[in-house]
């Protein structure tokens, strides 16, 4: 409720959201791309290993594309960023809480919801789909390069497989999931951070809690979206 009420304080959160978007986006991209790159390689090799003799090899493109877009792009990036972004937000806000910086904000007539929480949650919700889009593209590119170099699959065949069974829903489903993961990771990071008590030990506990809760919620949400939308 506090967060909904604080939305009216647009003069405070709008400028800070841009700052957080840059931070969340730029800081998270290398981790997400690194994971996606290697996932693309492994997916191509495992597909070829599974299909040998039974299924035409161009289905490697289908499997890499579908799996990256629907599942591994959003989920692996989400889990990695729960550690990267969620932990960092919980630690930052937790430290601010135990050093009375949050109280100081309040005494300066700022609402911590509009100053700290809304910019982070909005930035996460808006930037995660962008990060995942780049991650999915990277995974598909490394899957294609692996097929080209190690599997003797032509570019034409890989693209043929990629297009097979492709529907636009594959894209929006993955991006919608990413937005929900972004919201969850940042919201949990902020809530857990702001409820920190007890000095450095409390900050450590909050950081761990934020990562664990986010990871669990990502997996639950992943199953939820599959049941509701697929």
């Amino acid at each position: 409720m506090d967060m909904v009420r604080a939305l009216s304080d647009i003069g405070v959160w709008a400028r800070l959201t841009v700052v957080q978007m840059r931070r969340v986006g730029v800081d998270s991209l290398p981790v997400a791309l690194f994971i996606a790159a290697f996932t693309g390689v492994v997916l191509a090799l495992q597909a070829s290993y599974t299909f040998t003799g039974a299924v035409p090899l161009y289905f490697v493109g289908t499997l890499v594309g579908k799996t990256m877009m629907l599942e591994l792009g959003p989920v692996l990036a989400g889990l990695a960023l729960a550690g990267r972004v969620g932990a960092s937000m919980a630690a930052e806000l937790g430290t601010m809480k135990v050093t009375e910086q949050v109280d100081a904000l309040e005494t300066l007539a700022y609402d911590p919801q509009s100053y700290l929480v809304i910019p982070r949650v909005l930035a996460g919700t808006l930037m995660f789909p962008v990060i995942v889009a780049f991650a999915v593209a990277t995974g598909i590119i490394t899957g294609w390069l692996t097929s080209l170099v190690l599997l003797d699959l032509s570019t034409q065949d890989f693209i043929k497989g990629l297009k097979l069974f492709y529907v636009f829903k594959d894209v929006w489903f993955g991006l919608l999931k990413s937005a929900s993961f972004g919201f969850t990771i940042t919201f949990v990071g902020c809530v857990v951070g702001l409820s920190t008590r007890g000095g450095a030990e409390g900050v450590g506990r909050s950081t761990t809690r934020a990562v664990v809760y986010s990871a669990i919620l990502i997996l639950v949400l992943d199953a939820f979206w599959a049941v509701v939308l697929l």
Binding site: E100, D103, E106, T107, L108
Partner: protein, 241 residues
């Protein structure tokens, strides 16, 4: 005027304030002394609405603080500067940005903000530190920046939470002088929480001792120095028994 009437506050089973009643008159600096953990900082947080009493009244300029909504609290806080025990400066901001933060909330023009930041830093003898970060400052300097942040708002009240704790005697004396100077220059009403008796005698017009959740004695500096109350006397003389 700040009034606390029969305030009760507990954290879990432990009562901290237990029928606490105190009035802070306009223009005075009242020092609140007492043992560690007896609720001095808790009292300050009630005045600015950071904590809600379990029972009792907290009234600032006729406004019942616990009944204020978010907008009402923001209006109240525009009249109150708060100097935190460990300064509570924002690590990611420079000194100037820290001091300017409260002013930006008031939608003042940038040139006026810059002017008031310089004015406040000059008052605490920190001119030229604008671009430094809190991590680059000593404990005493951080406390002075915290004071500058409160002064810049030109508030009617300033609440000081242990402004000299953890400082060497000379730096503590500098802070005391700044507290006195702030009252003289700005005419603000102050509440200073401390257990540093030298500081209490220097900055206070009146001193109140908090003991077992209530005010044990309140009086002028001289009245406290000449008290016959054994509890107050033990505390101000720092005797172990």
């Amino acid at each position: 005027m700040i009034e606390l009437r029969d305030v009760h506050k507990s954290f879990g089973p432990k009562p901290v304030l237990n029928g606490f009643t105190l009035t802070v008159r306009d223009g005075e600096t009242l020092v609140l002394i007492g043992y560690s953990g007896t609720g001095k900082s808790v009292t300050l947080k009630h005045i600015v609405g950071l904590l809600q009493p379990d029972a009792g009244e907290v009234i600032v300029d006729g406004r019942a603080v616990p009944e204020l909504d978010r907008d009402g609290l923001n209006d109240l806080r525009r009249d109150i500067g708060y100097v935190f025990q460990f300064a509570a400066l924002f690590d990611s901001m420079t000194v100037a940005e820290n001091v300017a933060l409260g002013l930006r909330r008031r939608d003042l023009p940038e040139d006026e903000i810059a002017e008031r930041v310089q004015e406040a830093l000059a008052l605490v003898d920190l001119t030229g530190t604008d671009e430094r970060y809190p991590a680059e400052l000593s404990g005493g300097m951080r406390k002075r920046v915290g004071l500058a942040r409160a002064i810049a708002l030109k508030p009617r009240y300033i609440l000081y939470d242990e402004p000299t704790t953890g400082l060497d005697p000379v730096t503590a004396a500098v802070i005391d002088r700044l507290v006195v100077r702030t009252r003289e220059h700005l005419g603000v009403t102050g509440v200073v929480v401390t257990h540093d008796m030298r500081s209490a005698y220097t900055v206070g017009d009146r001193i109140a001792m908090l003991y077992e959740g209530r005010v044990r004695q309140v009086g002028t500096v001289q009245e406290i120095q000449e008290t016959g109350d054994p509890v107050v006397r033990q505390f101000i003389e720092g005797r172990p028994e």
